[in-house]
């Protein structure tokens, strides 16, 4: 009886503990942001530069309803840059609103690593090509040690990727309008024409008079050509979200990392 009770207690403990583990992980993600949008632990920015950047990121975050943050550290504490950035974002409560929409740039001076992590709206909006653009704009400044300029370039490129591109929308709409309009009036214009020569006489074929008396299909020869098949590399990933992964908290993140 006692043994049986112990088994039951053990089973209950395991059962209760299972949902608890994920509850603990979830509890570690604070609802409110614990740190400012600029965390300069590596002290790369001057005081004025830092406050100006913070200003810019705050304005950008509230206007896009998507937080843009910059974090610099001296060491990754043995983690991979991408994982460090993901965890920094998650466990410090970064992200706008319920869905924690946001993008964070991490710089680690120890091995000159950079990593960008995206979540929520930023994950959805920033495609591979947007990330390419961000990298392209920011990396030259990073390599040159112009950190303030690099962070500003990062913020601007994020904005370009996340905010709807009105200019492109208008150009596409106008182009489509011209094409559809032209097709429309062309159909109307064709309605005006009803005179055309008739080059056939199908109306005058006597009913059932068409007969084929002899049909002969002769096989002549065959040729075979071969072309090399492109090798399947299987590396293509969906365009929209730019590919995503799961962080240690179990939430999905996008982004990329590299050296500068």
């Amino acid at each position: 009886m006692k043994i049986r009770n112990n088994v039951i207690i053990l089973a209950l403990t395991v059962l209760l503990a299972l949902p608890l583990t994920s509850a603990v992980a979830a509890a570690q993600i604070p609802a409110e942001r614990q740190l400012p949008l600029v965390v300069d632990r590596a002290e790369l920015l001057g005081e004025e530069e830092e406050s100006r950047l913070l200003d810019k990121l705050s304005r950008l975050s509230s206007s896009m309803k998507c937080e843009v943050a910059v974090v610099t550290v001296n060491s990754l504490e043995g983690k991979y840059p991408q994982a460090y950035a993901d965890d920094f974002f998650d466990y410090n409560g970064y992200g706008y609103g319920e869905n924690d929409d946001g993008v964070l740039l991490l710089l680690s001076m120890e091995h000159r690593d950079w990593a960008i992590t995206t979540h929520g709206l930023a994950l959805k909006k920033l495609s591979e090509s947007d990330l390419d653009n961000i990298e392209e704009k920011m990396l030259p400044y990073l390599s040159a040690g112009q950190y303030s300029d690099a962070f500003n370039a990062f913020a601007d490129a994020c904005r370009a990727g996340i905010m709807p591109n009105y200019a492109r929308m208008i150009i596409i709409s106008l182009g489509l309008g011209v094409i559809v309009g032209f097709i429309g009036v062309s159909i109307m214009k064709r309605n005006l024409k009803s005179v055309a020569p008739r080059n056939e006489a199908s109306d005058y074929v006597r009913k059932d008079s068409f007969r084929i008396n002899n049909r002969n299909d002769i096989f002549l020869y065959r040729t075979v050509t071969k072309t090399a098949r492109p090798k399947d590399t299987g590396s293509s990933s969906g365009g929209g979200g730019g590919g995503s992964h799961y962080s240690s908290s179990g939430r999905s993140h996008g982004g990329r990392s590299g050296k500068f």
Binding site: P164, S173, G184, A201, S202, N214, V224, T225
Partner: protein
């Protein structure tokens, strides 16, 4: 005895010799191999090729009899040279082609007499209604054109047509291919099998019409086709009363070419529908033999309407039997751009809205 027979290669046209040593046919130019039997039957098909023959019997050549000719008048327009035949009770006040007053009258003589006529079934009011229907719903047409008062003239004219009847024997040869593709790990293979396809058969055409008047634009007349010949009756001068009749000025011989061309096109279209199951089909050679070709002279009923807009004349024609109404209409440039703006604007707006919605979702 190295060579025995000589054939043309169906692939490249080079001469192929039969090599008795290997018992195979191989083209020395393109390296294609053939069965001997295949080449034999292909060669037979080539040799059986017949030239086109498009012979026609002449029109029967009935002329007007003296009594009939007495009751007819011929009007000749001094302005455009158009000749109109009508019975002497009908007064033609102006030329139906160019609108000029008719100035000279003459007497009918020596011409061929029509074999058949399709009497007018639709009247002047039908022609007016036809024009109304024709301009309806045409948004790019100038408003003023829809005004009925704008019609300059409506004339019922019997237009001369040559009718061609013939039975066509045709032999058409096609080059056809079937393509099969498959692949293994490294390569994609495309196998093209070439065929020589022969179709031999016959088809009969009845009453293919060719406009016999140079004053009538051929395209306009072909656009109101078809006429239903089963309603044609033997020609009587009585049918002409109240209408104008044009006199043919294109001979049957001159009209033949057009009939031949139309019959050839239709025959080739019909034959090609019997070549199925191939990836590509290209006609290589076609030979048409017309047998029992007969030509007849008929009058078909046509309503002609003319209107003037911006100093340009517009011609309309209505089939006086079926009511089919044709005629090119002028384009209102302002309406064109207005509708371009409206349609394009709606499309652009809708596209912008869809993009906006999808950007914020």
């Amino acid at each position: 005895m190295d060579t025995l027979l000589e054939y043309k290669c169906p692939c490249c046209g080079g001469s192929i010799a039969f090599d008795s040593g290997s018992q195979k046919m191989k083209c020395p130019y393109c390296d294609t191999e053939f069965d001997l039997e295949t080449l034999k039957s292909y060669d037979e098909a080539l040799n059986n090729q017949k030239p086109d023959s498009m012979e026609w019997e002449n029109a029967e050549g009935q002329t007007w009899n003296g009594e009939e000719a007495d009751g007819m008048s011929v009007y000749v327009c001094k302005s455009c040279g158009g000749e109109i035949v009508c019975d002497s009770t009908t007064a033609a006040s102006s030329c139906p082609y160019c609108g000029n007053p008719v100035v000279m009258t003459g007497r009918l003589s020596g011409d061929l007499r029509p074999d058949f006529v399709i009497p007018f079934k639709l009247g002047k009011e039908d022609a007016k209604a036809g024009l109304q229907r024709h301009v309806k719903g045409k948004r790019l047409l100038p408003k003023i054109f829809k005004d009925q008062n704008h019609i300059d003239e409506i004339k019922g004219v019997y237009v001369p047509f040559w009718l061609f009847d013939t039975e066509v024997d045709a032999t058409i040869r096609y080059k056809a291919t079937k393509v099969r593709t498959w692949h293994d790990n490294d390569y994609r293979y495309t196998e093209t099998s070439h065929f020589s396809v022969l179709r031999d058969g016959s088809v009969t055409f009845d009453h293919v019409p060719v406009d016999g008047s140079t004053k009538m634009e051929n395209a306009l007349m072909e656009s109101i086709e078809p006429f239903d010949f089963s309603q044609a009756t033997d020609f009587q001068t009585a049918y002409l009363s109240g209408y104008l009749a044009d006199r043919y000025d294109v001979s049957a011989e001159e009209s033949r070419q057009r009939a031949n061309q139309r019959i050839k096109t239709s025959t080739e279209t019909l034959f090609s529908t019997t070549v199925n199951g191939y990836s590509t089909v290209i006609p290589e050679n076609s030979s048409l033999r017309y047998a029992g070709g007969k030509v007849r002279y008929v009058l078909y009923p046509v309503w002609l309407l003319t209107t003037t807009w911006k100093e340009k004349r517009y011609y309309f024609a209505m089939n006086g039997q079926t009511g089919k109404f044709v005629g090119d209409l002028p384009l209102d440039k302002a309406a064109y751009w207005k509708w371009f703006g409206v349609i394009g604007g709606i499309a652009a707006g809708a596209s912008f809205l869809i993009q906006l919605i999808s950007a914020f979702l």
